[in-house]
C-alpha cells in the first residue's frame, strides 16, 4: 500500500492523476486531459483525449477545435453526476461548479480516497448553468481568484438595476458593457432578460458564436443583433456587449457616444475601474467571493485544502487562522481571467 494521496500530484503544468496518467486542466498538450471548463487558463487544444461535460466539449470544439477532425483528439463526454472509470482504478465524477456553461468540479476517487478539483466556481445563482454542489472529500483543490477579504460581490439584481437606470437616463447614448466572451456576457444578457429588459442587445462580432452556442444548449438570450450590421443611430438607448479588450479600442468609435461599463469582480476596487476608464463599474463575478470561498471550505470540511490560483496568500492565512491544513500550488499559466 502506497502512502496516502501519493496517486495525485501537483506539477507546474497541472494536477497529475498518476495511475490514470491523466491531467486536470493541464497547461500543455497531454495524452489524457480532464477539463473542468472552457476558459483558456483551464482548457486548451492538442490533447490526445479530452474528458469533460458535453457543454465544455462543445465550447472547446468552438475555441480549440477539440474533437474536430483527426487532429482534434478523442473526446469523452460526461454528464453532471455521472462517474466514469479511468485506467488505474480511478473514478472521476463531474459535479456542477456554477461557474459558466458546462463548468464542473471533478471528484477523483482512488483507493478509498476522495479528491475534488473545483476548477473555477461560484455559489451564486446563475441562469446559464446549474448551481455548485457541496460534496465531501479529503483533499479540496480550490481556486482563489477573489481570495481577499475585501471581495464580497453584491447581489446581481442591484448591479442590473444600476445598468438599466443609467440606460434610461441617457436615451441618446448607448451603454457599452465589457464582459468576458465566455460566460460573463451570456450571464449578463440572461440576467437583463430576467430583470425585464426585452429590447434587442447588440453584440461585438467576437461574442456571436458563443452566444449561439449557449442558445443551442437551452439558455435563452432573447433578441441579439450585431453591431457590425447596425447603423450607429439605431443603437442609441440600447445595450452593447463587447469583450473587455474592445472597450477603449477604436472599434468603439462606431457606437453612439457610449457610456463605458465593465462587468467584473475587479470593479469593486475603484482604482481598478478608473485605470480602465470605466464610467459604470458593475461588480459581477463568476468566481466565489471571499465569504463563498471560506464558507465552501467549511462546508466541504476537507482534511486538506490545496489552492490553485488567484490570491492564495490570504486564503492560506485564513486556513492557518482556522487551524485548517492548506497549501498553495505553484501552477504556471494561470492568470487572472479578464473576469
Amino acid at each position: 500500500m502506497s502512502a496516502p494521496f501519493s496517486w495525485i500530484r501537483s506539477e507546474p503544468w497541472g494536477i497529475h492523476v498518476v495511475p490514470a496518467d491523466a491531467w486536470v486542466d493541464p497547461g500543455k498538450a497531454v495524452a489524457r486531459a480532464l477539463v473542468t471548463h472552457g476558459h483558456a487558463d483551464h482548457a486548451r487544444g492538442g490533447h490526445g483525449a479530452t474528458v469533460a461535460t458535453p457543454e465544455t466539449l462543445a465550447i472547446m470544439k468552438l475555441r480549440y477545435q477539440t474533437g474536430d477532425g483527426p487532429s482534434g483528439g478523442e473526446t469523452t463526454p460526461v454528464q453532471y453526476g455521472e462517474t466514469i472509470r479511468l485506467p488505474g482504478g480511478v473514478d472521476a465524477t463531474y459535479i456542477p461548479a456554477g461557474h459558466v456553461l458546462g463548468s464542473a468540479q471533478i471528484l477523483l476517487e482512488h483507493a478509498g480516497e476522495r479528491v475534488i478539483c473545483t476548477g473555477d466556481y461560484k455559489r451564486r445563482a446563475d441562469p446559464t448553468c446549474p448551481a455548485f454542489e457541496v460534496t465531501p472529500c479529503d483533499i479540496f483543490i480550490t481556486e482563489a481568484t477573489f481570495g481577499l477579504p475585501l471581495f464580497t460581490h453584491p447581489p446581481i439584481e442591484g448591479e442590473m438595476a444600476k445598468l438599466l437606470e443609467r440606460l434610461a437616463a441617457y436615451p441618446d447614448r448607448c451603454v457599452l458593457v465589457g464582459a468576458y466572451a465566455l460566460g460573463k456576457a451570456q450571464r449578463v444578457i440572461a440576467e437583463l432578460r430576467a430583470a425585464g429588459h426585452h429590447q434587442p442587445i447588440y453584440l461585438h462580432g467576437a461574442m456571436e458564436k458563443m452566444c449561439r452556442l449557449y442558445e443551442e444548449h437551452g439558455v435563452e438570450l432573447g433578441e441579439l443583433r450585431l453591431v457590425a450590421d447596425t447603423p450607429k443611430d439605431d443603437m442609441r438607448g440600447h445595450i452593447v456587449i463587447a469583450p473587455p479588450s474592445a472597450l477603449n479600442d477604436r472599434w468603439s468609435r462606431r457606437l453612439p457616444d457610449p457610456i463605458t461599463a465593465f462587468a467584473s469582480g475587479w470593479m469593486r476596487v475603484r482604482q481598478r475601474a478608473r485605470q480602465r476608464n470605466v464610467e459604470l463599474p458593475l461588480v459581477i463575478s463568476d468566481h466565489a467571493d471571499w465569504n463563498e470561498l471560506t464558507r465552501t471550505i467549511e462546508e466541504v470540511d476537507p482534511q486538506e485544502t490545496w489552492i490553485t490560483h488567484g490570491r492564495e496568500e490570504a486564503l492560506l492565512r485564513w486556513n492557518q487562522l482556522h487551524q485548517r491544513r492548506a497549501r498553495a500550488l505553484a501552477l504556471v499559466g494561470r492568470e487572472d481571467e479578464d473576469e
Partner: protein, 544 residues
C-alpha cells in the same frame, strides 16, 4: 451622507468635465444647508480633522481584522481609506453593527471635529457602522482630507456658480474670505441675500487676463507695452486688522501659496492688492540685466525648484530668493483702484513703489515704441530667457476680471522649431482614449548615416487637428514594433516639426535636454528621418 457618497462615486467614474460640473451643481441645488457647504469644502480645499489620519484608520482596522489579511488587502487596493471601507463588514466578523440611521454630512463633520486621538478609536467605528460601503468610503475620504477624485478647487467653484447662476469671478472673490460651510455664500447665491462683506479680509480677487495677439495689429497711441516675464503670475494681498495685518500670496488660480514664499509676507505691510510676476533672483541662467536694465531674474527652471513646497529651507531662501515684478494694482493703500484707467493705475503704482522694499519689488518696465513695427523689432531682438514676450494694455482699460476682448493682449516670442522623429506613442485620456495621441520624439545623437541613435527629447500631445490625429493614430497602429504596457514603440519613420518656447539642461532626460511647452508644429510626412535634427542643434538653442 448617502447623497454625498453617491456624488463622490459618480465623480470618481466621470471623465467629462461638463458632466462633473453638472453632477456637483445638481447636488448643491438639491442639498440643504449646511450639508452642501461642508460637501463643497470637502470637494474643493478639503477639510482637516487632526484626530483622523491614515494611520488612525490602519490601527482601527488592525484591531478588527488579522493584520496579515489587512496588509494583503491594503497592498492590493493601494488606498487605506478605500481598503477600510471595503473590509469593514468582513472585519466585524459577524458582530451586529449599530442600526442607527446614516449620519448627515454636517453630523459627520461635527462628530469628526469633536474626536481626539483617544476617542477616535471608538467614535469613528461607530460612524462607520451606520454606513454602507460607499458611505464609508465617503466618510473616510472626508475625514482624511484627501479626495483624489479629479475635482480641482476651481472646478468646484465653477460648479457652484453654475448651480445658482452667479458669476464665478464673484465666487472667487468671496471664497477666500469665507470658511466652511460657507453659509453667507449660499445665502447670497441661492437665496438672493446681500453679498458677503469682504472689505477687511485678505482675500483673492480674480485676475485680469489677456488674449493672444495673433494676427491683430494695435495702434501704439492706444496701447502701452510691457515685458511679460517667465515666472508665475501672483497676487499679493495685505489688509490691516486687529492683529496688526495679514499678507497672502495667491497663484493665478487663487490658491494660497503664502507658505511657499514666506519672504514676500514681510515685504508687504501696507494695505494693497498687487498684481505681478513672481521670479527668483539668479545670475547664472537669467543674465544680470535684461532690456531696459531690468534683470536679475533667473530662468523659469530656477523658479521651478521652489514651486509646490509647503516649507522652505533657509538655504533655498538664501540661494533663490523670490521677488515680485509688478504689473498692476487692484487696491493701493486700501483704495480699490480697479475702476480707474490703466494709465492712472500705472501712475498710482509707480508712486506707490518707493514705499515697498526694493529687495522684494520692482515694476515691469514700459517698452517704449513709436509704432507697432518698432515694437515688433524690439521683441525680435530680446534674448533674455526670463522674458516670455510682451503685454499690450489699452491705456484706458479698467481692471476687469477675466479675459475681455480688446483690452489686454499677450504677444509671446516666436517659438523655436526643430525637426524630431516620432519614437513612442501612448493613448490619450477622455475623448482621446481610443487614439494614440501622446507622442514622444527624439533627435539623433550623431550622424544617422554613421549609425547614430535617436534619443528622446520631449513629449507632445497637441498642435494637430482631429483629421491629423486620425492619421497619426493609424500611423502608430500600423508601425508598432514593440509594446511596453500602454506604450507603443514605432518604427521611427515619421518626422515632426516641433515648436517649443525654450530648452534647457536636464538630468532627467537621457539626452540631457528638456523643452518647455513643446507642441507639434507640422507633421512632415514628406521628410526622410535621417534629415531630422541632431541633439547638438537642439543644444545650441539654449539661451543663456
Amino acid at each position: 451622507m448617502e447623497q454625498f457618497a453617491a456624488l463622490l462615486d459618480a465623480l470618481v467614474f466621470t471623465r467629462s468635465r461638463n458632466e462633473k460640473l453638472r453632477l456637483i451643481a445638481e447636488y448643491l441645488r438639491a442639498t440643504p444647508d449646511p450639508d452642501r457647504g461642508w460637501a463643497l469644502a470637502a470637494l474643493t480645499d478639503g477639510l482637516d480633522f487632526p484626530a483622523v489620519k491614515s494611520s488612525t484608520i490602519r490601527n482601527i482596522m488592525k484591531e478588527r481584522i488579522d493584520p496579515v489579511l489587512w496588509s494583503l488587502s491594503r497592498d492590493f487596493v493601494g488606498d487605506t481609506a478605500e481598503t477600510a471601507s471595503l473590509l469593514w463588514e468582513t472585519a466585524q466578523m459577524g458582530e451586529n453593527g449599530d442600526s442607527a440611521p446614516p449620519p448627515s454630512v454636517s453630523e459627520t463633520v461635527a462628530a469628526l471635529e469633536a474626536m481626539n486621538r483617544k476617542s477616535v478609536v471608538t467614535e469613528l467605528p461607530a460612524l462607520l457602522d451606520r454606513l454602507d460601503p460607499s458611505g464609508r468610503y465617503a466618510l473616510l475620504k472626508l475625514a482624511t482630507g484627501a479626495m483624489r477624485i479629479g475635482v480641482s478647487s476651481r472646478l468646484g467653484k465653477v460648479a457652484f456658480a453654475q448651480a445658482f447662476d452667479v458669476s464665478v469671478d464673484e465666487v472667487e472673490e468671496y471664497w477666500h474670505a469665507l470658511t466652511p460651510p460657507f453659509a453667507e455664500l449660499f445665502a447670497w447665491a441661492a437665496d438672493g441675500d446681500a453679498p458677503p462683506d469682504i472689505a477687511n479680509m485678505p482675500t483673492f480677487r480674480p485676475f485680469m487676463l489677456a488674449h493672444p495677439l495673433e494676427e491683430t495689429v494695435v495702434d501704439m497711441a492706444d496701447y502701452a507695452a510691457e515685458w511679460k516675464w517667465d515666472g508665475i503670475r501672483v497676487q499679493l494681498v495685505h489688509v490691516a486688522n486687529d492683529s496688526g495685518g495679514e499678507t497672502r500670496v495667491y497663484s493665478r488660480s487663487g490658491d494660497d501659496i503664502s507658505a511657499t514664499f514666506p519672504e514676500m509676507l514681510d515685504a508687504l505691510t501696507i494695505p494693497a492688492v498687487l498684481d505681478g510676476e513672481l521670479l527668483v533672483r539668479g545670475n547664472v541662467q537669467g543674465g544680470e540685466a535684461g532690456p531696459d536694465k531690468q534683470g536679475g531674474a533667473a530662468s523659469f527652471n530656477a523658479l521651478q525648484q521652489r514651486l509646490g513646497r509647503k516649507t522652505v529651507s533657509k538655504k533655498m531662501l538664501a540661494e533663490s530668493p523670490a521677488f515680485v515684478r509688478l504689473y498692476d494694482a487692484m487696491v493701493i493703500e486700501g483704495e480699490d483702484v480697479r475702476a480707474l484707467e490703466w494709465q492712472d493705475r500705472r501712475r498710482r503704482l509707480e508712486e506707490f513703489l518707493p514705499r515697498l522694499p526694493a529687495s522684494h519689488f520692482d515694476i515691469s518696465a514700459i517698452v517704449e515704441a513709436e509704432s507697432f513695427e518698432a515694437l515688433a523689432e524690439i521683441r525680435e531682438g530680446t534674448r533674455d530667457d526670463a522674458i516670455e514676450g510682451l503685454m499690450l494694455k489699452r491705456r484706458d482699460s479698467p481692471y476687469i476680471a477675466g479675459r475681455k476682448t480688446g483690452l489686454w493682449y499677450k504677444w509671446k516670442r516666436d517659438p523655436l522649431l526643430i525637426d524630431c522623429v516620432l519614437m513612442y506613442a501612448q493613448r490619450g485620456s477622455g475623448k482621446r482614449s481610443s487614439f494614440f495621441s501622446d507622442y514622444t520624439f527624439g533627435c539623433w545623437n550623431g550622424d544617422p548615416d554613421m549609425g547614430a541613435e535617436l534619443l528622446p527629447v520631449g513629449k507632445a500631445y497637441s498642435g494637430f487637428t482631429d483629421e491629423e490625429l486620425k492619421k497619426l493614430d493609424k500611423h502608430v497602429r500600423s508601425k508598432t514594433v514593440n509594446r511596453f504596457g500602454p506604450v507603443r514603440e514605432t518604427d521611427k519613420s515619421l518626422v515632426f516639426e516641433v515648436a517649443f518656447d525654450s530648452v534647457h539642461e536636464s538630468k532627467r532626460h537621457k539626452s540631457g535636454l528638456a523643452m518647455r511647452f513643446p507642441r507639434i508644429h507640422r507633421i512632415r510626412w514628406d521628410k526622410p528621418v535621417h534629415e531630422a535634427d541632431r541633439i547638438e542643434s537642439l543644444r545650441s538653442l539654449i539661451r543663456d
